[in-house]
């Protein structure tokens, strides 16, 4: 199994992982995202940082899963995780849309009753 992961690659992915964690932390600090929705990205950043620091983890894990090339294992897992995340977010968006619609209609209906009382 090819296992040559260069130092440059480890440094690059380590830097990107830490940048992702820092960016998400900044969004949370500015209250633009809650931990409730941000934790997958924090976890992904931590995992990427660990794999960059200890590439043997990736190599061993890939072998156990039957992958010939560690990067294939990493890509497959990342794509699966992203698909799952997007699906979960679609469900959440749908629920929020229904809630917003209901609130908007209720507000308009209440205002209509108020208008009719005044007339």
């Amino acid at each position: 199994m090819p296992t040559d992961i260069t130092l440059e690659q480890r440094l690059l992915f380590g830097f990107l992982a830490l940048a992702l964690i820092a960016f998400v932390a900044r969004l949370m600090h500015r209250r633009q995202v809650d931990l409730q929705h941000a934790w997958p990205w924090v976890l992904a950043g931590l995992l990427a940082a660990v794999l960059a620091a200890f590439p043997a983890v990736l190599v061993t894990g890939a072998r156990l899963l039957g992958f010939k090339v560690p990067s294939n294992a990493a890509m497959s897992l990342a794509i699966t995780a992203l698909v799952f995340l997007v699906l979960v977010q679609s469900v959440a968006i749908g629920r929020m849309q229904r809630d917003v619609r209901d609130l908007c209609q209720r507000m308009a209906l209440l205002e209509a009753w108020e208008d009719e009382k005044k007339r």
Partner: protein
């Protein structure tokens, strides 16, 4: 109990409303039975509607046609209307057809009466060939999944009774709702009739369907019709049990 509520969904239809309201009043609709639902318009739609003396519902954010019409059904239910009919604010739907729609609803005790452009040969505005192709596609699809032929499944001019008002108040698609709701209610066992009407070219404003949204419309509504029919069958089974 009140008779017929006229629901007028309106997005930037300020120029079209005065003529429409005049025509509705000429057909015998009391002003307080006409509801203009302002769907986040950027023009003076709400001010024009209020100046005409009709009832108004002002949505705080833009919900689209589905959320707007659903709000209208909720309004009509709260005020004990027996029927509610959708008449679009752009002037395409001719109020002169209302007596025929209401007459068919009373005569057949139907849950829904559709003002249809294609039941009989009629004059009036002809939509583009692409729209007619889409209408033919959805008509065939609804027939395939429900066994019932509806000639004009995309017509928004629809009169519904209280049973359907309650159903739509609980669940109504956000966009392009007509074919999807038809598939569901036909599969669920509600009765639907069609009455021939003339449609007119819109008085002002623009269509929500352009070349970009046409693809989304075709895919989304096709899926909606199939899934709507499945939901309708499940609903029928639940009521039978």
């Amino acid at each position: 109990m009140n008779g017929l509520a006229v629901l007028v969904p309106a997005f930037n239809e300020g120029p079209s409303l005065p003529a429409l309201i005049r025509e509705l009043v000429a057909q015998g609709c009391p002003l307080r039975h006409i509801l203009v639902i302002n769907d986040g318009s950027g023009d003076d739609t709400l001010a024009v509607a209020r100046s005409l003396g009709v009832a108004t519902l002002d949505l705080a954010i833009r919900l689209g046609i589905g959320g707007t019409v659903q709000a209208g059904y909720r309004w009509a239910l709260e005020r004990d209307f027996h029927w509610a009919v959708q008449v679009d604010g752009d002037g395409q739907h001719d109020p002169a057809a209302l007596p025929a729609l209401l007459g068919a609803a009373v005569a057949t005790a139907g849950d829904m009466v559709i003002g249809s452009r294609f039941v009989a040969a009629r004059g009036g505005y002809r939509s583009t060939w692409l729209r007619r192709l889409g209408i033919a596609w959805f008509s065939g699809l609804i027939r395939f999944v429900t066994g019932r032929r509806i000639h004009d499944p995309t017509s928004g001019m629809r009169l519904v009774g209280r049973r359907l008002m309650k159903s739509f108040a609980e669940h109504y698609p956000a966009d392009f709702p007509e074919p999807e709701t038809l598939a569901r209610i036909l599969a669920a066992g509600y009765t639907v009739e069609e009455v021939a009407v003339c449609m007119r070219e819109r008085g002002a404003g623009r269509s929500s369907i352009d070349s970009v949204t046409a693809v989304y419309y075709a895919v989304k509504v096709t899926l909606g019709v199939v899934l709507g029919a499945v939901a309708g069958r499940l609903e029928r089974r639940r009521h039978a049990d």
